[in-house]
Amino acid sequence: MTVPLLELSGLTVEVPAEEGPRPLLDGIDLSLDAGEALGLVGESGSGKSMTVRAVTRLLPRGAEAGGSIRFQGTDVAAMDAGALRRYRDQGVGMIFQDPRAHINPTRRIGSFLTEALTRNRGVARREAEARAVAVLAEVGIDDPGRRLRQYPHELSGGMLQRVMIASVLLAEPRLILADEPTTALDVTIQSEVVGILDRLRRERGMGMVFITHDLDLALAVCGRVAVMYAGRIVEVRAAEELHRRAAHPYTLGLLGSRPSIDARAERLDAVPGRPVSAYEAGTGCAFADRCAQVRPVCRERRPELEPFRGGLVRCHRVAELAPAAEEVPA
């Protein structure tokens, strides 16, 4: 059997708090092969960004990771400084959710884009700039030569997001961690950008974890989708089956709350109640307080992520509820 490109088992992240360590991630199991794209969707605050930050070992100060993260079989936690640098330079590339907070505002776009190439890979400056111009053009930025001389505040939100994407494309990593990489892009450019990522995956066997709130986008780009809620994965399913076979009540809630481009709804069906964080989850199912299907057992025991209808679902009642789930319109 081949080793997966990325394997998370029992990944936890805790941050210190007055009342003791507070869990942000509570046992994430995921595995990804080269050439595979996995979508990560779910509630705001459920731990999607934290999961990919843990993979690059870029956690907030004081945070502790537990469980294991293996990249091509190597334990990421055990990497020494040199190995970690190589891993971050060439193994994984991170497209951050908030480009403006991750691109140094005092440096020109050109130096941001070419630094890794000139410093770590011995590429001559001119050559690095030529490559940067080519990649910027590829992600749809007009007049890329001029953009290299500009500062981040002179670029629009979507342009800066594409600069971030370009920096990762220049590094050609084995694994791309894309955290909402297209939220600031208009849909035509989004289509081009995800087209590029998709091509790299197919042609170079790059792996990708793709965080997004757009379920239809996730289904178009990814082979499999994992749904997160309160620091845990609650459902994993093949992308093409999600609409038809989603079984977890939270996944069903997500699928039902999206506005339609074809008509205005009187009211949107939001999942009732307030989001919960992993540390508030208690001993039972974290979704229990908001779930229309709740039974006493849901508050007593935590459900496990178990195989169901070709996917994985974390719900005590999924087997009884399934017939209804099957009728969800595509």
Binding site: V15, G158, D186, V187, T188, D214, S260, I261, R264, S277
Partner: protein, 264 residues
């Protein structure tokens, strides 16, 4: 009654680059306009001119019938402008003060823009925090300890605290999962029905625009490509660019990098 926002021939030039090129639109009292369009087409620049963070190179802006094309004179005028029109920025991380917790950010706005006493402010704060789906604990956290969507909701709560007559939302719901987004869109619709607030929503998400807006304006390279009734523009676009936008929206069966399968 004068329009909530009236913009005529608005233009902004940066160096030799025309970012906004003779843009005109009107939002009636209690109206809701969506601006969609290409990345870099000038949407945020329009918003920044409306709040006075960027000075127009040409053209006029009036909010509630009062001119805003020149900077505010004096602090009373600045305060009034802020109370009339609030904005939620595209990058909540950089627009929130990194040293200020959500609740003190909201309280600061309540102190500046309302006459509520301490108890009244505390009650209003609790309401706002609850309405945007944050916990008390999250409200006490600093921005860096919050997720992207939590920060975005802090920014929304802060803008709503001023009870403005016009609210500009620059990609303000794009970092929210669809369920919380639905909750916020319902909230915004309720507030509009109850108070007659006007919205200017900048978004790449055409379905969100359809849900919240009556009219829409399509911007490309600083110019207005098409504008009109939301349903009309989205269902029967007359311009090629609007049609391309519509076709690039991911729907089941859509594949990236090429036009969508024709909708049936």
């Amino acid at each position: 009654m004068s329009a909530a926002v009236s913009v005529t021939g608005l233009t902004k030039v940066f160096g030799s680059h025309t970012a906004v090129d003779a843009v005109s639109f009107e939002i009636g009292a209690g109206g809701s306009l969506g601006i969609v369009g290409e990345s870099g087409s000038g949407k945020t620049t329009v918003a920044r001119m409306l709040v006075g963070l960027e000075r127009p190179t040409g053209g006029g802006i009036a909010v509630l019938g009062r001119d805003r094309s020149t900077p505010a004179r004096g602090s009373a005028e600045r305060l009034r402008r802020a109370r009339e029109l609030q904005i939620v920025f595209q990058d909540p991380y950089t627009s929130l003060d990194p040293r200020q917790s959500a609740d003190s950010a909201v309280d600061e706005v309540l102190r500046r823009h309302t006459r509520l006493d301490r108890a009244g402010r505390a009650a209003r704060l609790a309401d706002l925090v609850d309405q945007v789906g944050l916990t008390d604990r999250q409200a006490r956290a600093l921005p860096r300890d919050l997720s992207g969507g939590q920060r975005q909701r802090v920014a929304i709560a802060r803008a709503l605290a001023a009870e403005p007559r016009v609210l500009v939302l620059d990609e303000a719901v794009s970092a929210l999962d669809v369920s919380i987004q639905a909750q916020i869109l319902n909230l915004l619709a309720d507030i509009r029905a109850a108070t007659g607030i006007a919205y200017l929503l900048i978004s790449h998400d055409l379905a969100v625009v359809r849900q919240l807006c009556d009219t829409v304006l399509v911007l490309r390279r600083g110019r207005v490509v098409e504008q009109g009734d939301c349903a009309r523009v989205l269902d029967a676009p007359t311009e090629e660019y609007t049609r391309a936008l519509r076709a690039a929206v991911p729907v089941p069966g859509w594949r990236p990098g090429r036009p969508a399968a024709t909708a049936t």
